[in-house]
């Protein structure tokens, strides 16, 4: 067994709940995801509990303030209707936490990038295979294209393909709630039948606006995580090969180049 020296700052954890890995990310992209939906930026940098908290909070306050509805009327120019649907009693609570989530994900991303740089070259004692009574997780190479294609079918399947069990479960529950409440599938049904008017009428104007963010986030997250998990797999394998099959003592026996 190769004995990896204990790192001061281990960068990765492989468990049956998923593979968590600190790596370099672009803080602006993380902040932008937080702007599309508070919490997504935190999920991208693997701060899941914080991310889920912010997502649930966002859904709660958006529902109680009718923010999506007001936003949608604002975009169509019906400012008076927008003013009338919004719940003044809660809307001001939305703003500080929305901005905080953008700022906090940006800040945390920069800090994690620094920690990554500090311990990039330290050996990380990550396990390549975890077997537990009810689930198995292991490092392997997976295709980012396949991961994002699955996410395109229904958000959560891409994460499941990568063994991100908790991520997949949360995403699936949220997606089902959004799709059901927004009557999105009904809308598509009537659209395919050619009845655009009916299709528009059946959609819920408050719930429908959650869909683009969760859909594209799922595609992006599974794509990026597939790539990063591959890098973790490669780093672990390289460490193992260096330890077990070093090139030390090797003598070339072929003919010399003349």
């Amino acid at each position: 067994m190769p004995s990896f020296k204990q790192a001061r700052r281990p960068l990765a954890n492989v468990s049956i709940w998923g593979t968590t890995y600190i790596h370099k990310r672009n803080p602006y992209i993380v902040a932008l995801w937080s702007a599309t939906f508070p919490g997504f930026g935190h999920l991208l940098i693997n701060k899941y509990v914080r991310g889920y908290f912010l997502i649930i909070w966002e859904i709660f306050i958006n529902q109680s303030s009718r923010l999506n509805l007001a936003m949608s009327y604002t975009f169509t120019g019906d400012i008076e209707i927008a003013k009338s649907v919004i719940n003044v009693n809660v809307i001001y609570m939305y703003i500080p936490l929305y901005i905080y989530s953008i700022w906090d994900s940006y800040r945390a991303c920069v800090e994690l990038n620094n920690l990554y740089i500090l311990s990039e070259n330290e050996p990380s004692p990550v396990k390549a295979l975890i077997v537990k009574p009810f689930e198995i997780n292991y490092l392997d190479k997976r295709s980012p294209i396949i991961a994002s294609l699955w996410s395109m079918s229904i958000p959560s399947t891409g994460q499941l393909y990568l063994n991100q069990f908790v991520s997949a479960f949360f995403t699936l529950v949220v997606t089902v709630v959004f799709v059901y409440q927004s009557h999105f599938i009904e809308g598509i049904h009537y659209l395919l039948l050619g009845d655009v008017h009916h299709s528009t009428a059946v959609l819920d104007r408050q719930w429908i606006f959650y869909l683009p963010s969760i859909y594209f986030y799922g595609i992006y997250e599974s794509y990026v995580n597939a790539i990063e998990n591959n890098k973790l797999f490669k780093a672990e394998q390289k460490m193992f090969l260096k330890e077990k099959f070093p090139v030390k003592g090797f003598k070339f026996k072929g003919a010399k180049v003349k």
Binding site: L32, S72, F184, I219, K253, A255
Partner: protein, 152 residues
């Protein structure tokens, strides 16, 4: 005889090593290859998304444009779903093309990588008569290239 093989890192590589060990060959060496110097980076590949990525900005733009498209779609003939999808595609394309132009203008040293990238050189020392079996095994486990050096 010494056999040199270039491999992309995968479970296949470890299977190759294990199967060769099963033949009773123990002189196995590996040389990990580092990816190129810092100024040369690869675009979205199976291995890398840090720094250079064509998809990241496009995805965010897709969300914003899709929301705006769907909202405006409530007042337009094709409805929110069609306009939402149009918005998403528009956002994706703008992000994608924007980044493409950005990379073309800003960074001229990009190495566009196609196909498999070798990560590991595997060296096996064995008797001459075992050479063929080892070579076959290497090819079976997705070696990118195999070379032999006969003892001088």
């Amino acid at each position: 005889m010494q056999i040199f093989a270039a491999f992309e890192q995968s479970i296949q590589l470890e299977l190759a090593i294990t199967n060769i060990q099963k033949l009773g060959i123990d002189n196995i060496y590996t040389v990990p290859l580092d990816s190129g110097p810092e100024d040369i980076q690869l675009l979205d590949t199976i291995n890398r998304s840090d720094g250079l990525s064509l998809s990241s900005v496009g995805m965010v733009l897709a969300v914003f444009c899709s929301v705006i498209g769907a909202a405006r779609g409530f007042d337009h003939q094709w409805g929110p779903i069609v306009w939402g999808i149009i918005g998403a595609i528009f956002g994706l394309l703008v992000g994608f093309i924007g980044k493409m132009v950005f990379y073309k203008v800003k960074m001229k040293k990009i190495r566009w990588v196609k196909g498999k990238q070798p990560d590991i050189i595997l060296i096996i020392e064995c008797a001459d008569h075992e050479g063929q079996r080892v070579e076959k095994m290497l090819w079976e486990h997705a070696a990118i290239g195999v070379g032999k050096a006969v003892d001088a």
